[in-house]
Symmetry: C2
Subunit: 195 residues, 2 copies
Amino acid sequence: MAKVKPENEDSPKREAILDAALELFAELGYHGTTVPQVADKAGVGAGTLYRYFENKEALVNALFQKWKRELARQIMERFPVEQPVRTQFHEIWKRAAGFATRHPRALDFLELHHHGSYLDAASIAVEQELLIPIYAFAENAKRLQQLKEISAEILGALVWGGFMGLVNAARKGFVTLDKKTFDHAEECMWQAIRR
Amino acid sequence: MAKVKPENEDSPKREAILDAALELFAELGYHGTTVPQVADKAGVGAGTLYRYFENKEALVNALFQKWKRELARQIMERFPVEQPVRTQFHEIWKRAAGFATRHPRALDFLELHHHGSYLDAASIAVEQELLIPIYAFAENAKRLQQLKEISAEILGALVWGGFMGLVNAARKGFVTLDKKTFDHAEECMWQAIRR
DNA sequence: CTCCTTGGAATGAACGTTCATTCCGTAACT
DNA sequence: AGTTACGGAATGAACGTTCATTCCAAGGAG
């Protein structure tokens, strides 16, 4: 009755397709990846993919929203609202680092596709889910006179940019993403934004 | 007999093709841009493009090397070797900011294509032209006990990442790349790396 | 239990389209 | 006239997508 797609959520094949697409899109890009390639890697027929996603564009948007939301969730879930600002920053950095080591492909994919004319309005809107609480943290910390008197947007861009710079340097083999690296980098970026 | 290309350097058409390719590759990506699109925007026929570049891949590699070298040149030319470390850092940041405002498309392009399976060995090697002097600056500054005792690779990744984070935030409209923004960001990133 | 029917899930060869590249007639120069 | 540069139609390969067909699990009939 209500079922439009065969298995609207949670289907092993749907997950296999999303996993295969994540690896290929992250490595080859959206236009550099072919649909049969995704189907092959997922172990399904090319036609099957169209039972789960309307087309290639719908697939990349589903993938983008899935991982952007997952990133936002892992960073913001049960955020220690009552803790000191420095502790909160440590928590954000630690969670981002955890995500980077658990899902390196997902970060590559998000970074490579965060602009892209094939992203629809829903995908662009999901950006906000991560940004709003981050900006809220920055504004609050500034009110407590713990951060520099600089716009939350600039501070956020520098911190997130520094983090992604580290991830990119790791992919090129210039650094390794171990605990010591993340700890050093966290201290640097805290000095960058603290008052 | 020896002339393989009609005008091996400096030809108005060659430059027009490179300019058109820069805009399109930066916006649509390598695989998302078609050769006739580049030719149209450059105001030449599709066949003409192949008089100046062996194929699409040679074009994107020429473009990558051109702008990566130009970036390295603008940042490192007549570097104030005798000045204090803080002044040197200011100079690097100022030059990078100047490049970002003069050639925003070039930064977008380099950022979007710095991984990419179509880049050849020569393109990858050009990365070193910027990295080596930057690391030399960091090592020297550390020897003078002006920077944190953290590997030059990490410090470099954070500073460059922060800078690119700013540029990306500007493309999404979260910040504007005026002098005040760059000055604030410079102070932040100096705090990030200073001892 | 075995056989037959049924219908949704899955498939991959085939389709129309689009792409990178080539080819060749024309224009521009020497 | 001879040579080189140019443009854009032509070409074959590769793409995203479709659809006629196969597969398979479940259920009813005997």
